[in-house]
Symmetry: C2
Subunit: 301 residues, 2 copies
Amino acid sequence: MSGFESKLSLYTGMINDKLEKIINIPDAPERIVYEAMRYSLLAGGKRIRPVLTAAVAEMLGGSLDDAVTAGCAVELIHTYSLIHDDLPCMDNDDLRRGKPTCHKAFPENIALLAGDGLLNMAFELLSAPGSFKTIDCGGSLALIRCLASASGVRGMIGGQVIDLESENKQDVTLDNLTGMHGKKTGALIEAAAVMGCIVSGFTDENCHEILQIRRFSANLGLAFQIKDDILDVTGDEGSLGKPVGSDEAGGKNTYVTMLGIGGADARLREKTDAAVAALNFFGDRACFLRELADALLRREN
Amino acid sequence: MSGFESKLSLYTGMINDKLEKIINIPDAPERIVYEAMRYSLLAGGKRIRPVLTAAVAEMLGGSLDDAVTAGCAVELIHTYSLIHDDLPCMDNDDLRRGKPTCHKAFPENIALLAGDGLLNMAFELLSAPGSFKTIDCGGSLALIRCLASASGVRGMIGGQVIDLESENKQDVTLDNLTGMHGKKTGALIEAAAVMGCIVSGFTDENCHEILQIRRFSANLGLAFQIKDDILDVTGDEGSLGKPVGSDEAGGKNTYVTMLGIGGADARLREKTDAAVAALNFFGDRACFLRELADALLRREN
């Protein structure tokens, strides 16, 4: 295992351990909603968002434990958004990462409430006494503010609505697509990275650390989405855990439908380069984040 | 107008003004979700929860403006819960307060996301810089903690699940029913009142002020629910804004099906008395809250 791989596996191990402990199923009539929350939260996934929080914090000298906790709050938000996105009135998906979606494994109303429960739990986690060892109340509040503004209607939810509203529209431009993804997936990826700064004591939104990490993660988020669009065409169904070509079948606007595979690939490299360039500010300390950007560029699922 | 009525109308006026300003509709493709959020938020309602926050804070010498802001966060949560409760996979209701429900006035996926947006916005509001004039970061964090734990799976959402799981069950006891309502509607009413204490500088959960306000509001919340159950049988369709007898038609367990009208009425008075008794601690300062409990007992909708 390379140094990068062992670090990545350390982070994901800590994140999965923490997520495992966040939801304890009570012996009570409402246990089914806890089961549904756990089902989706522990259904796998790359944990990119909390890995970013952990890696940024470790680079900046913050507490790794506290960063994992903050990153898990982002993962709770991410998981709720997947559950609600999969519901019949949204994308109506039956499979997610090769497993039945939450509303297929549980009744639809329980899946809806499990999503609500996870969204709410992100803020319970960030505000609970004892969640953090090295962060004072100003830091906790900054974390909550950062996450809440990224996940709300001015961020992720707004992006989801733009996506719904642009379905089957013919006049969607590349700028529209980029703007939509910047909110729908970018805002939360950015928040995860910035929360790594906050955990490390950088709370001024205009400090160099936050500005450069925002530039890095905004570009990384776009690169991540472009790669998703490319894999939907060129990927392998087995490693993706979902059918190839689903975007085209669904009439979706993607970087591939707009730019072709070659153009999308060029754009992917351009955004990854821009992300890596923003790391220059941090010098050698950023080597894990550089390798992470490269690994996301080369991923097969 | 009595002193009580003019005070109530001052509070609700301030609350409605603040709610009106919270959601500004942008000139952007995602405007529809803002419209749906505003539609439900401004569709009327008694504003009991923020009135409690305001009245408790004014009684304890806290800032009324800050209490109204905190109370509006509770109203955002309450409104999201109504939107999600009305969805086809939940109660599938077409009307709420005599108007089309959110998913009837807007597409179902927009209603789902409007609910998510309101839930999220409650935490945006409580964490935004400049939301409060008299509260420090410790106070803001205490407000967030209080609201998040009341609205999550250990509170309101858990209560909604217990309610779903008990539908058409024959062996539901009065204790089960009381436990369910304590979470489903009680937790948020209690949080609203306790947030009035926090706004006034009482943040220790074991201080007398919070303990007595919890006792008051827990009993008031139950009284409120019992009255709802009674009005569903004895009320007037015009003033209720919904069909009378819907609980019985839906096969729901209520205080009336379990205790009869007379028994439910006795229980309503008992709970109101217990609520008022908890106010003795505050002496004459609690006269508005006493009259509020009495007004809720006598209400016709």
